[in-house]
């Protein structure tokens, strides 16, 4: 076996969770990889799981202020990230993804992909029950996945996370085999998201409509009540006697109660935190983050979402963004550092490609493709025949170089600065303010040249929904760019299990997207930055920046 193949097999085995520490060290040496480099791959089941911190007094409550109300709490049905925030407490997933990207046991103690990547065998944890007393077993796993693809569920997001799912086989109480029609590389990542969390078959089958607002999981919190437009309360599950090994303790959660409240208005959300109506809020106003950080009463976790960063999509089917030179000039003329520091108060960092740097298979190659260079922008436009007119705005064949934007609240922080930077190189930005719904429609119908988007994703397969030609008509591929090679790459990226191969496929995809300037990347998305009272400790955010309250507790000295 070649060295490369050996390390591939090793990495696959390590990710599967089958290897003990000793085995891992031995095989790491055999493949020439430094032990320290792969240490994060280790499953630390023998490690910190059992240890309970001595100086933590259980008890207390927390009120979390979200910026949107979930639509429902059935993981198969809801497409919203905010639902994930709530569901993470009520449900468990088969596997957990740690913040370094590695996978660890959850409800599944071990897992093994088949050689061709179309079958995943899971060995499940014993002795776990749902909040309604139903035992957790392979049947529940099968039910959960079938529930997702059941047309009755009208699943939006969860079904796309399952990809080419075929069926699940219940081998025995503790073993489930999940079959796919084609190799599906993002599966483990999907299985680590609450959208694929395991639901109680009894509860769903009893009344699926009622289940939407009465979730039953195996998680460390039980669902109590949901008062429309006001709050959702969860209380501690006293029977939770284990924990995924990456948590800091095992057994029941520390907090007695978690309440979620909904504040869509940003200043209100901040006021709620400051008045004590909420103890933790999502997305504080960006210009207040510095002040909150400096205040000893509060803590701020500044995080940036993996997946699609904040970008503007450029419609290649509409003039003048059908001109490559124009699209590239728009990128070169953008001073991202300025926008980050002035428009976003420094709470984020510039982005240069369709994936944020923390996304697996991010390619750093994009970082040097469009440095801020106004002169270069002007040269490109000159060469393409765009001549500066009397007011500085360029023209070609008596057409003004006007780019129209469907502007929503989301775009406000960087719209004016962009407009100013672009007029310096002779591009005019025509602003059309509208609601998000109208903006989606406008770019879909080629009524405007550009609008913004940002998606959380922990797998680069998200690029398929955004750039594959099959998603141009009626979908989100707003660049309207149709290229056979790009389509092929996107398809094989989804079905290639081999890590290195996948990396090079996605590297090429990112390069093609940026070479053709299908988007203008702006900066990492800081929407899931949280601010909370510093008397709470152990508040964490996971790989996708969703709130993780299992280890949260009140500071004993507070």
């Amino acid at each position: 076996m070649s060295g490369e193949a050996k390390s591939n097999t090793f990495v696959r085995a390590a990710l599967s969770g089958r290897l003990s520490r000793r085995e891992m060290a031995r095989r790491a040496a055999a493949t020439g990889l430094a032990f320290s480099a792969i240490a994060p791959l280790m499953t630390s089941r023998e490690g910190s799981a059992a240890a309970q911190s001595e100086d933590v007094t259980p008890g207390g409550e927390i009120v979390v202020g979200l910026n949107l109300e979930p639509d429902n709490l059935d993981p198969a049905v809801t497409p919203f990230a905010v639902s994930h925030w709530v569901m993470m407490n009520i449900y468990d997933t088969l596997v957990w993804r740690a913040n370094d990207g590695t996978f660890h046991p959850g409800l599944a103690e071990r897992w093994e992909p088949s050689e061709d990547g179309t079958v995943y065998t899971f060995e499940l944890r014993e002795g776990v029950n749902f909040h309604d007393g139903t035992p957790f077993n392979a049947e529940a796993v099968k039910f959960t996945f079938d529930h997702i693809v059941d047309p009755e569920s009208k699943s939006g997001f969860a079904s796309s996370l399952l990809g080419p799912y075929d069926h699940t086989e219940v081998v025995d109480e503790r073993t489930a085999k999940v079959f796919f029609k084609e190799p599906y590389a993002p599966f483990l990542d999907s299985a680590s998201q609450a959208f694929l969390a395991i639901v109680s078959p009894t509860a769903v089958q009893k009344d699926r409509e009622a289940y939407l607002r009465n979730p039953v999981g195996t998680g460390f919190m039980k669902f109590d009540e949901w008062v429309q437009n006001d709050h959702i309360t969860l209380s501690r599950n006293p029977d939770y006697d284990w924990a995924p090994p990456i948590f800091e303790h095992a057994g029941p959660a520390y907090l007695d109660k978690v309440t979620f409240r909904f504040y869509t208005d940003t200043p209100t959300r901040l006021a709620a935190l400051e008045a004590g109506d909420a103890n933790l809020i999502e997305t504080p106003p960006y210009h207040e983050i510095q002040r909150l950080s400096d205040d000893a009463k509060f803590e701020v976790n500044e995080v940036l979402n993996p997946g699609l960063p904040v970008v503007l999509f450029l419609d290649t089917a509409k003039a003048p963004t059908d001109d490559l030179a124009v699209r590239q000039a728009l990128n070169f003329a953008l001073d991202r550092e300025l926008i980050v520091s002035q428009g976003m108060f420094g709470v984020t960092r510039p982005a240069y490609g369709p994936l944020w740097e923390s996304t697996p298979y991010y390619s750093a190659e994009v970082e040097t493709m469009y440095p801020y260079d106004a002169e270069k922008a002007k040269q490109l436009l000159d060469a393409a025949g765009w001549v500066p007119g009397s007011d500085g705005i360029r023209e070609k064949d008596s057409q003004r170089l006007t780019v129209s934007i469907a502007s929503t609240d989301f775009i406000n922080p960087f719209r004016e600065i962009s407009q100013a930077l672009w007029s310096e190189v002779g591009i005019e930005l025509q602003v059309n303010t509208m609601t998000v719904a109208a903006a989606f429609e406008a770019i879909g119908n080629d009524e405007v040249n550009t609008t913004a988007q940002a998606w959380v994703s922990s797998d680069p397969v998200v690029l398929t929904n955004l750039f594959h030609s099959k998603n141009i008509e009626g979908g989100f591929a707003w660049s309207k760019y149709s290229d056979k090679r790009l389509d092929e790459l996107l398809e094989s990226g989804e079905s290639t299990i081999d890590e290195e191969e996948r990396a090079s496929i996605y590297a090429e995809i990112q390069k093609i997207i940026m070479e053709n300037a299908l988007i203008i990347p702006y900066f990492g998305n800081p929407e899931t930055t949280i601010a909370y009272e510093s008397r709470y400790q152990g508040v964490k955010q996971d790989f996708r920046n969703y709130l993780w309250l299992y280890d949260a507790h009140l500071n004993p000295s507070a």
Partner: protein, 306 residues
């Protein structure tokens, strides 16, 4: 006699509601935006998935078909939100008491303050008290309500910590939102009462009352005000509709559950069933409030008969 009037008014509600339902349906369907795309636009979906969900929700049907389905769902109690699958009527009825509470309390506050200002201004016509009272009213109307709301939250909830900032519930949670909502109406009520009182105070029967020896206070409040109030009542009946919907901003800023927020969010999300259902229900409430207003005339002014 009165019963025939009332019965007639109640029957008239039906065609009005029908027209409302058609207009709202047209408006919400013909404005740009696709609810499924809005839902999926947060996390992502493929074109195929979007189309599938639209078909499952019946959104690919022609408009008249969708309208009939809306009526049918409403009648069978199965009208559901596209976004949350929750029954619209039930949601509305759960949230309505909050908005009603806010509307009524703010109306009462506005009436009390407005009356005081109006009477004071009318009885001290053209004096500094007059100008002052009217100025206070104008202030209330000119200050943007979302600004006032935030300022009040910051002063009373954040800095002084006297009151909670957000939510619905007991009287404490009503004080700030009701104040904000009341401020906008005070000017209107005060002005109207002042104008009508000034007129009424010139009437002969006022002179008669005074020469009878009645105390001035009794003249002003018992006789003059009562007559001056009629136009104000009309105004408040009409205003009630505004209150129900104007509560939107107050509800959003104070994070109060209510139908204002329900409708606005539904409009932004293009959640057709919710918009159509909630607007229809609100129109029904509005029509009955106006009916009550008209009936109350006969209580206040015995000369008015139906």
């Amino acid at each position: 006699m009165a019963t025939r009037y009332i019965a007639g008014r109640v029957l008239a509600v039906v065609p009005v509601l029908f027209i409302v339902s058609v207009v709202v349906s047209l408006m919400v369907h013909l404005t740009p935006g696709d609810p499924v795309k809005v839902m999926m636009g947060q996390s992502g979906a493929s074109a195929e998935e979007i189309e599938q969900i639209r078909a499952q929700l019946g959104l690919d049907q022609p408009l008249p078909v969708q309208y009939v389905r809306f009526l049918k769902d409403l009648a069978t109690g199965d009208l559901r939100s596209i976004r949350t699958h929750q029954p619209v009527v039930q949601q509305y009825l759960e949230l309505f008491p909050n908005t009603l509470q806010l509307a009524v309390v703010s109306l009462l506050v506005a009436i009390v303050i407005g009356m005081l200002l109006g009477v004071v201004a009318a009885t001290h016509q053209n004096s500094w008290l007059d100008s002052f009272s009217m100025a206070v009213g104008f202030l209330g109307v000119s200050i943007p309500n979302f600004w006032l709301a935030l300022v009040l939250i910051y002063v009373f909830a954040v800095s002084l910590n006297w009151l909670p900032a957000t939510g619905a519930g007991g009287p404490k949670l009503l004080i700030l939102p009701a104040t904000v909502l009341a401020m906008e109406q005070v000017a209107l009520i005060a002005r109207l009462i002042r104008a009508n009182m000034v007129e009424v105070l010139q009437e002969d029967y006022i002179k008669t009352a005074r020469s009878k020896g009645l105390r001035e206070r009794s003249v002003q409040w018992g006789h003059a005000l009562r007559n001056a109030m009629l136009p104000t009542i009309t105004l408040m009946g009409l205003n009630f509709g505004y209150l129900l919907s104007g509560a939107i901003i107050v509800e959003t800023v104070f994070a109060r559950p209510g139908i204002g927020r329900l409708i606005v969010d539904a409009i932004l999300n293009k959640d057709f069933p919710v918009v159509q259902g909630a607007v229809l229900l609100t129109a029904t409430v509005y029509l009955f409030v106006n009916l009550l207003t008209d009936i109350s005339y006969s209580l206040i002014d015995p000369r008015i008969r139906y």
